[in-house]
């Protein structure tokens, strides 16, 4: 991290430089974040519809575009590509400029990329609802959308890399490794997966291996590095102290790059694919304890003796919630990949709970924390209401916990019952319904949190709030 400047004059210069950097990336970063928030709210509503349909199947049962299978695909794609990916670009671009100590030069180009991405998501979403979804998990958008998304992703990656190459700061901080990795991996991964599943599909079950190589790497090589990189930037930033260990961060980064990319095939455990493939992925999944342990120890030791700060800083509260969830979800994932464990958990709601612990409790919460930090610095306006921020945090945090516990417990019982052939299938369905209702309750709370966040963001963009920096900031 930047060491604190020695005298007041240097400090003022550094503050001016930071302000200039923040101003330079204001347009595109806020465009990405506002779009992300729009897709988050939309995606949450689709999620709620899908969730309620699982215990009230005849609700909104008439029109084709509202049928469960389409609404669920829409939910996944709007939150994964609309919310998560756009929030990731927003945070990554801002952190890159800050850490390279350089103003963003390609603001308009990047804003164009954001709008292009929005067009791609809109085309894909309408396509799915109209019945053109592909049913290839994580690649459901109809064929018109991927070229638009790939182009936009390439543009964003070019901006990040070009900014990095022009950097003024010589030291490359750990966050930058993660961001560079993510922006190098994701475009290649996306294009390769689209070609091998859609344009020149490989044969039969090889498509399934491409599918899960891709889908798991969206988490491992795109969402996770940006999320972990953000935590690496913000925790020390808010506390004003350096990261505990440089060597642990190097170890964590390279072991993640190596092992996470191999992890995907555990989604095919027991399936009609060669056993060696699944075994290779189980090894990769279990070895993930190394990068996860390294990151967890590093963050914990940085936080040590400073947990009191959680009370004052919403940013820290969200990011630390995310960081702890990252450790939890990763350890769970390593265990879940084992064959004996998967005999019960695979094909059940347990997996869905796990997925949300990762993408929501870890990633989304980290992104909320980042937004609470950088938005006032970009707009120059303080958050309008501390109460709404608290509402956001608690309803999201309690919501995801209800969600996770419901599906984990319900899914585990479902898995045990599936193995017990004396239990009729319809009996299992009936017994999971209470847990599915629990999921809807959790999901409703999470959606309330998102609405609070959206209101705060809109107010801030409209300039409703005290000027930033004049008073004790709400969101340090």
């Amino acid at each position: 991290m930047n060491s604190p400047p020695a005298d007041p004059a240097t400090a003022a210069r550094a503050a001016d430089a930071r302000r200039a950097i923040d101003t330079s990336c204001r347009g595109p970063v806020l465009t990405y974040l506002a779009s992300a928030t729009f897709w988050l709210v939309g995606g949450s509503l689709f999620a709620l519809v899908a969730s309620i349909k699982m215990h009230a199947p005849d609700w909104l049962g008439g029109p084709g575009w509202l049928t469960f299978g389409r609404v669920r695909q829409t939910h996944l794609n709007t939150v994964a590509y609309g919310w998560s990916s756009m929030a990731a670009v927003a945070a990554a671009v801002w952190m890159t400029c800050r850490l390279c100590r350089i103003e963003l030069r390609y603001a308009r180009f990047l804003t164009a990329a954001a709008w292009l991405w929005n067009v791609g998501i809109a085309v894909g979403t309408v396509g799915i609802l109209a019945g053109y979804g592909s049913s290839i998990e994580w690649l459901e958008f109809p064929r018109a959308a991927p070229p638009i998304l790939a182009l936009s992703l390439g543009m964003a990656a070019a901006v990040v890399i070009a900014t990095f190459l022009r950097r003024r700061e010589e030291h490359v901080y750990v966050t930058q490794w993660y961001v560079l990795g993510a922006f190098f991996w994701m475009p290649v991964l996306y294009v390769a997966a689209v070609i091998l599943t859609r344009e020149m599909p490989v044969r039969g079950v090889v498509q399934a291996s491409v599918n899960w190589w891709y889908a798991h790497n969206v988490l491992g090589l795109w969402v996770t590095p940006v999320g972990v990189g953000t935590a690496y930037y913000l925790i020390p930033k808010v506390l004003g102290r350096p990261v505990y260990s440089y060597y642990l961060s190097v170890l964590g980064f390279w072991s993640l790059a190596l092992f996470y990319s191999w992890a995907g095939m555990h989604h095919l455990i027991g399936g009609p694919v060669p056993a060696w493939m699944v075994t290779a992925s189980i090894v990769g999944s279990v070895m993930m304890v190394i990068p996860v342990g390294a990151v967890a120890v590093n963050h914990h030791m940085t936080m040590k003796d400073h947990f009191r700060e959680l009370r004052h800083s919403p940013t820290l509260r969200f990011v630390v919630f995310g960081a702890v969830s990252y450790t939890a979800v990763s350890v769970q994932g390593s265990i879940e990949s084992l064959r004996r464990f998967s005999e019960v958990a695979h094909f059940t709601h347990y997996t869905v709970g796990h997925a949300h612990l990762g993408l929501y409790a870890f990633f989304a919460m980290t992104m909320f924390g980042a937004a609470y930090y950088f938005v006032p610095r970009l707009t120059g306006v303080e958050w309008a209401s501390a109460r709404l921020i608290r509402l956001h945090f608690w309803s999201s945090a309690v919501g995801i916990m209800i969600y996770f516990v419901s599906l984990t417990v319900g899914g585990w019982f479902q898995g045990l019952a599936l193995l017990d052939t004396d239990v009729k299938f319809i009996q299992i369905v009936r017994e999971t319904v209470p847990y599915l209702i629990g999921r809807s309750v959790g999901g409703t709370l999470m959606t309330v949190g998102h609405l609070a966040f959206a209101v705060l963001l809109v107010l801030n963009l409209l300039g409703k709030g005290k000027p930033f920096g004049e008073t004790q900031p709400l969101a340090a």
């Binding site: 469960f68 299978g69 490794w177 190098f184």
Partner: protein
């Protein structure tokens, strides 16, 4: 780690290793897999799907059936032999079962039962009624209804032969003088479901 190139090559190397292992290697092993040849006693397996069945696959994809239904029977040594004991198949599924499928619809959820052999379990008539409203055939089911795959229309001079006979609480819900008939999409998906059958004996599936 202050060198961009170092990070770049490191990322390239780790990424490529996984691509070689998880994409290229399976492709080399399975990419050339063909249906077993026809002999004098049996047709080639798996047989190519008819045009209507292929259309039905598209309806299956469009409506996201895979989010609740898998199409893979697991080995008797996996999970207490439950898949076979539940009657979802007579043998485990193997890569050759899927050589004609693009995209392959293995699925990752069993909110509903596995469908790898559903063509051997139910009749067309059952499937139509079940699609129109699953609870007509299976009380307590949480499967979505698919009324948009059916058409309510006035009975012509002679009643349509494929009109559904509604039962239970659904009997008498149609307006007088009307009948409920499957659309071409409904016929296609039922044809597809009836085609799902992995009972052919494949040497590599024997355990």
């Amino acid at each position: 780690m202050d060198r961009g190139l170092f990070i770049f090559f490191g990322c390239l190397l780790t990424f490529t290793s996984a691509w070689l292992g998880l994409v290229l290697a399976p492709h080399l092993q399975l990419g050339e897999l063909e249906p077993v040849a026809a002999s004098e006693v049996a047709a080639a397996y798996p047989r190519p799907r008819t045009e209507e069945e292929e259309q039905g696959r598209k309806v299956y994809q469009a409506n996201g059936c895979i989010y609740c239904h898998s199409q893979q029977v697991r080995s008797g040594t996996f999970g207490n032999n439950a898949d076979i004991a539940r009657g979802w198949g007579t043998r485990r599924s193997v890569p050759r079962d899927y050589v004609n499928d693009t995209p392959v619809l293995l699925g990752t959820m069993r909110t509903g039962p596995d469908l790898a052999n559903v063509g051997r379990r139910w009749s067309a008539d059952w499937q139509y009624k079940h699609l129109y409203n699953p609870r007509m055939m299976t009380p307590g089911s949480i499967m979505p209804p698919f009324p948009f795959l059916f058409e309510v229309r006035p009975v012509g001079e002679t009643p349509s032969p494929d009109a559904l006979v509604l039962t239970g609480p659904w009997a008498g819900t149609l307006p007088a003088g009307h009948e409920l008939v499957p659309t071409p999409d409904a016929k296609a998906i039922v044809a597809y479901l009836l085609s799902l059958d992995q009972s052919a004996d494949l040497p590599e599936a024997r355990e």
